[in-house]
């Protein structure tokens, strides 16, 4: 082996849970400028724990931006692709932020915490780019005096607790009733995409029922100084229910199985939500927003490339980003590129996503993935690649 080992650690940022990860024996790697655990014991075991029981992830590296004031809604609706007007207080939605060419600046979650207050959860690697873009758009927004933008990323921590057994122990960690957002008696009364605040040892924390794994679960957003206490409480409450701490390795295999995009792989500034198959989150009917005309035209005429999902048909080395995708049969040619690929712990076979010209982008089309100079058979499959049994 060439040089397994540690990356350039001196310039990387650390979350408030850095010491907790070390104590748990987490293997730390660089991700988007952050030093994060890729695994504690085994990516496969942590992945399967989330599918069958529960897993706890540190997502404090992700960014948080608060947009508030009487102009907040109008500002966000002109800047994001999905329709913020549809959100009542206490509801959230997946959305994207595009440039004028329809290219994706980031994909994010927006939670309406209160009538005039929205929380954006953004990708760690995009915090600077997003905040710069939002500030630039705000400077040009006619009602800018009615909007306040606060980047609270540095002071805020976040956790994701995911898996079918989370409902067995989460209520015991955060006693209800909620103090803001959706009015509920207990955390497990939240429905998918709902968010509520709870009082935690005198601090206000926000809990949304969402995630990035394809499983039921919650994300907890709290001041960074109390995130370790919450982490420890969830770990001890959840361990009797099979909860394991889970790293970014499992987070990546889980999201790939259910075809959730990862910025820098499926999405970038030269790729549109329509090309990425995310048209459902582009509200063309809500009025003007940045990128709208390009996205409307692509939706009407069809995009020039499409995101596809594939499954290897035989045992092979795992497909990986940048591997070539070939068409098959006479005239076989390189037609696209893998953007995400891994070995699926749930299915025990290589899986991935890539971009192809529309004429090839149909489920059940055989393709070949070029792995280390050799082509291996794969089949395009409908998204998601993995579906929960029954």
């Amino acid at each position: 082996m060439e040089r397994p080992g540690r990356g350039d650690s001196h310039r990387m940022k650390r979350t408030p849970l850095y010491a907790a990860h070390q104590k748990l024996g987490g293997k730390l790697i660089e991700f988007g400028g952050w030093e994060m655990p890729v695994q504690y014991t085994s990516i496969t075991d942590e992945h399967l724990a989330v599918r069958k029981e529960a897993g706890l992830f540190d997502i404090s590296h992700m960014g948080e931006v608060l947009i508030s004031g009487p102009g907040a809604e109008a500002f966000l609706n002109g800047t994001l692709t999905n329709d913020v007007w549809k959100l009542a207080a206490g509801q959230g939605q997946y959305t994207l932020m595009c440039n004028e060419r329809g290219g994706v600046i980031d994909d994010l979650y927006v939670y309406r915490l209160a009538a005039q207050e929205c929380l954006l959860i953004i990708n760690a690697s995009r915090i600077e780019a997003d905040v710069a873009w939002l500030e630039k758009q705000l400077a040009a927004f006619p009602r800018r005096s009615e909007v306040k933008l606060q980047n609270t990323s540095d002071a805020t921590g976040a956790l994701a607790v995911q898996g079918p057994r989370v409902v067995e122990f989460i209520d015991g960690c955060f006693p209800g009733p909620s103090t803001g957002g959706t009015s509920v008696a207990r955390v497990t009364d939240l429905k998918k995409n709902q968010v509520a605040s709870f009082s935690y040892a005198g601090d206000r924390i926000w809990i949304g029922r969402t995630g990035y794994t394809g499983e039921d679960g919650f994300e907890v957003v709290a001041p960074g100084r109390i995130i370790e206490a919450i982490w420890n409480q969830l770990l001890s409450a959840g361990q009797p229910h099979g909860l394991k701490p889970a790293g970014l390795g499992a987070r990546d295999t889980l999201r790939t199985e259910v075809c959730y995009p990862l910025y820098g792989h499926e999405l970038d500034e030269n790729t549109t939500p329509i090309e990425a198959g995310m048209g459902f989150f582009v509200a063309l009917d809500k009025g003007e927003f940045i990128g709208r005309s390009v996205l409307a035209e692509q939706k009407a005429k069809g995009p020039g490339k499409k995101l596809v999902a594939f499954k290897m048909t035989d045992r092979s080395a795992p497909p990986r980003p940048h591997y070539a995708i070939w068409s098959t049969g006479p005239g076989a040619a390189k037609v696209g590129e893998v953007v995400s690929g891994t070995q699926s712990p749930s299915l025990g076979i290589g899986i991935g996503m890539g971009y192809l010209p529309p004429e090839f982008a149909k489920p059940n089309t055989p393709v070949e993935i070029e792995i280390r100079g050799k082509r291996a058979s794969a089949l395009l499959v409908p998204k998601p690649i993995y579906r929960k049994p029954d």
Binding site: M1, E2, R3, P4, G5, K27, V38, Q39, S42, I43, T44, G249, T253, R315, S316, A317, P318, R320, T342, Q343, P345, R372
Partner: protein, 128 residues
Amino acid sequence: MANVPTDLKYAKTHEWVRVSGNLATVGITDHAQHELTDVVFVELPEVGRQIKAGDACAVVESVKTANDIYSPVSGQIAEVNPLVVANPALVNSEPYAGGWFYKIKLSNPAELTALLGPEQYQAQIGGA
């Protein structure tokens, strides 16, 4: 703390060598398997192939990375481990036992003296 058995020789590139007569068994270390994360694919050389020390002669792929394995010694491949090809997780669970890669008939046993001893390898990977 990575396990570094005292009866083996080590390459700087994280392979181990177990010598028995003129036959050497080669695998990767506990430290290496931990750094790789879950191994999901192993490709081994053909039996009979002549290998020079330092040649890339096998491939090990984990969920996260693909890595070449460099032969610590020269010789002819005498046997490969079919069980590790069928069950690559053996590299993680038994790196020094069921996770071995191949056996090689040594053509230049003097090369063994250039390999690291367990203390030297332990020092290289930062163990005390």
